[in-house]
């Protein structure tokens, strides 16, 4: 390979983002605390720049570069655009919150952008090495972000738990990857799939590696029985950082799982399908049932995340293109719901007071009926009640499971989402039918956040009525991206 062969075009968004982060990093040193708005605006601008580059260089077919370690396909592009939107919304929602709590600093933005870079590397990786480095880039930034508010013991504890368990999961994933390397003699996703198909690989060793890889992936997704870190980290982290963890990374994690299981280890589908069934059933059961007992909203949403990850896994385990598109759709929709849900919590948090418990939402309808309505849309969507888009997402995933003949699994999914509807509806009941415990008016926030949050929540309703556009984009992206390279 020579320099003339190196095609940098597919990786242009990553290169742009890295340059932008470096510029922001240096520029921020020369800004006083009053001028921090410049860092904020530059971060948003670099997100817009990335989106423009990704959309203009997008191709309807996969393209490899960097010796086959990097792939630019429609699935990666879709995930990247979704992540830009999620990061942009997160930054807008969190600005007031972090300013009130004294960590409106340049590092919050640079670390967030580094995290985005890690996720972009993850979704565009076509090699176990780059998959892993992308994952570490994302995780390292997240550990630091959780711990950024150092005067809070809760946040420090959450960061410690997240760091130790995340390192353990990375270790398991690496161990599994090394076993697969031993079995197939390659780290390239296409070559691994080829070696497993043509029988040149040591199957028992590959199976051994698969078990560790699935365990590591389940850790990163937060699926039961590897979910213990999720509630503590969601609750302990500052709400702005919880939003960072609960938004874009879920989309990245989904593509990460697809790259490893549905592309690299696709020939072993009959083996990993069974493991994912266990993960899915346990996640939906424990997530939904434990969430009922929670009075802390962030903790409740953490358990709700676990149950949603169970649903996400349902589509992956189907192993069909239809199932994977349904899961991609689910991931995109989940990110939108998660953004709006935590966005409302950020909106209702005042300086010094976090909106965290069910009691804080009591009588919200009296105080501000519009915010209460937005939260209602989010909760209905998460519960999967039509006409919100959460219903369409659940329906698509369940349909793919029925298509492969696992009707009992679809029934289990429906039963647990019915159980889950209880705690979502309880939030609505508290907002509309309970008396407020305090007379504090809802805090005033900037127009940008109010408008964006309203658009975000209303999008859940609009997409629920006309889901076909987004759904067909997911189907098309998945169809083009699944061919073996």
């Amino acid at each position: 390979m020579s320099w003339a062969d190196l095609n940098l075009m597919p990786a242009l968004p990553e290169i742009f983002l890295l340059s932008a982060v470096s510029v922001i990093l240096v520029l921020d040193l020369f800004l006083s605390d009053k001028q921090r708005g410049i860092t904020y605006l530059l971060s948003l601008l670099s997100l817009i720049g990335c989106a423009v580059i990704t959309l203009t260089t997008s191709q309807p077919f996969p393209e490899l570069t960097f010796s086959g370690m990097f792939v630019d396909d429609p699935m990666a592009d879709l995930a990247k655009v979704g992540m830009y939107v999620a990061m942009g919304a997160t930054l807008v929602y969190s600005r007031q919150y972090i300013a009130d709590r004294g960590f409106y600093r340049g590092e919050f933005f640079t670390l967030s952008l580094f995290m985005l870079l890690g996720m972009m590397v993850m979704v565009s990786a076509h090699h176990f090495l780059t998959l892993y480095i992308g994952l570490e880039l994302m995780s390292l930034a997240l550990y630091a972000l959780v711990a950024l508010r150092r005067d809070s013991t809760q946040a420090t504890e959450a960061a410690m738990k997240y760091f130790v368990l995340g390192a353990l999961a990375s270790g398991m994933l690496l161990y599994g990857m090394s076993m697969v390397y031993g079995a197939t003699g390659s780290l390239d996703i296409g070559k691994i799939a080829a070696a497993l198909t043509n029988g040149s690989a040591n199957m028992s060793l590959a199976m051994f590696g698969l078990v560790f890889i699935v365990a590591g992936l389940a850790f990163k997704l937060g699926a039961v029985p590897f979910h213990m870190w999720v509630p503590d980290v969601y609750q302990g982290a500052p709400t702005a950082v919880t939003l960072l963890i609960g938004g874009a990374p879920k989309l990245a994690a989904f593509v990460f799982v697809v790259r490893i299981l549905s592309q690299g280890l696709e020939p072993l589908v009959s083996q990993w399908q069974g493991m994912l069934v266990i993960l899915a059933v346990l996640s939906m059961a424990i997530g939904n049932i434990t969430a009922i007992a929670q009075t802390n909203l962030k903790r409740m949403l953490a358990y709700s995340t676990i149950s949603h990850m169970g649903f996400l896994v349902l589509g992956i385990l189907a192993g069909t293109p239809a199932g994977l598109s349904a899961s991609l759709f689910y991931a995109v929709v989940y990110v939108l719901m998660s953004l709006a849900g935590f966005g409302v919590l950020l909106l209702l948090s005042r300086a010094g007071v976090d909106c965290e418990t069910l009691d804080d939402l009591k009588g919200l309808n009296r105080k501000n009926s519009w915010y209460a309505f937005l939260m209602l849309v989010v909760m209905f969507s998460m519960a999967g009640i039509p006409p919100m888009v959460g219903f369409n997402a659940k329906l698509a995933v369940l349909k793919s499971v029925v298509d492969i003949g696992l009707i009992w699994l679809a029934v289990v999914g429906v039963v647990f989402s019915l159980i889950g509807a209880f705690y979502y509806l309880r939030v609505v009941k508290v907002m509309y039918f309970d008396e407020a415990t305090d007379a504090e008016p809802v805090s005033q926030v900037g127009m940008d956040m109010r408008v964006l949050l309203s658009v975000n929540a209303i999008a859940l309703l609009v997409l629920g009525i006309v889901p076909d556009g987004l759904y067909s984009v997911c189907v098309e992206a998945m169809k083009q991206s699944l061919q073996v390279l």
């Binding site: 390979m1 020579s2 010796s67 590092e107 670390l111 480095i133 570490e136 630091a144």
Partner: protein, 215 residues
């Protein structure tokens, strides 16, 4: 016995001796120096395997940086090594058992027909003008360019994260801006005042004692 085999056995003998002395030397500085000897001999083994880059980096990184740092720490901190060594005979049975199990495991794996070590051919000898460093460099900057650059980004992120987590303006910090300190004038620090002399107070010591007792 070929010359290479002779060199191998001599180096190995020195390595084993140095390794044993690392844990038996009474003086910690001697132990650290024996560890340096062990690293140096091990790099000789790498040279025998025609991996000159690994040999050089072992000496540069471990002997040149890590061990020197370690020696500094040993010399600067006053650690009572006799105290650390106290449990040696008491812990010996457990340590010996663990070591024996590890040796048994290694023997079982290496001699097992499953691992089939004889199936691996001896690597062909490399040409005299073959350069390991050049080959590594070429690989890193062509095939593995992308992960290599990403690793650099990872290090940058680690620096940013470490600084973000540890540096902040503290109210009780003793830090002084040197420029401000140099510019200081006598009038900024010293104020001359005129005070009338206090009349002498008798039996002062007794009073303070009473106050303390009352408090």
């Amino acid at each position: 016995m070929s010359f290479q085999a002779f060199v191998f056995y001599v180096l190995s003998a020195i390595l084993v001796f140095a390794g044993v002395r690392v844990i038996t030397a009474k003086n910690p500085v001697h132990a650290a120096l024996f560890l340096v000897l062990a690293f140096f001999t091990a790099s000789g083994h790498w040279l025998l395997l025609q991996s000159e880059f690994l040999a050089i980096s072992l000496v540069l990184v471990y002997v040149g940086a890590v061990m020197v740092l370690f020696l500094f720490v040993v010399m600067m901190l006053d650690i009572d090594f006799e105290q650390l060594r106290e449990g040696f005979w008491r812990n010996l049975p457990v340590a010996g058992t663990v070591a024996a199990i590890m040796v048994a495991e290694m023997v079982l794996i290496l001699t097992s027909p499953e691992s089939n070590l004889n199936g691996f051919k001896e690597p062909a000898a490399l040409a005299a003008d073959y350069s390991n460093v050049k080959d590594l460099g070429r690989q890193i900057y062509t095939t593995y360019l992308y992960p290599f650059e990403l690793a650099a980004v990872l290090l940058l992120l680690a620096i940013v994260a470490a600084i973000a987590l540890t540096m902040r303006k503290r109210k009780d910090t003793k830090w002084v801006d040197p420029a401000e300190q140099v510019k200081v004038r006598r009038n900024d620090r010293v104020r001359m005042i005129q005070m009338a002399a206090e009349p002498r107070v008798e039996d002062r010591g007794g009073d303070t004692n009473n106050d303390n007792a009352a408090a």
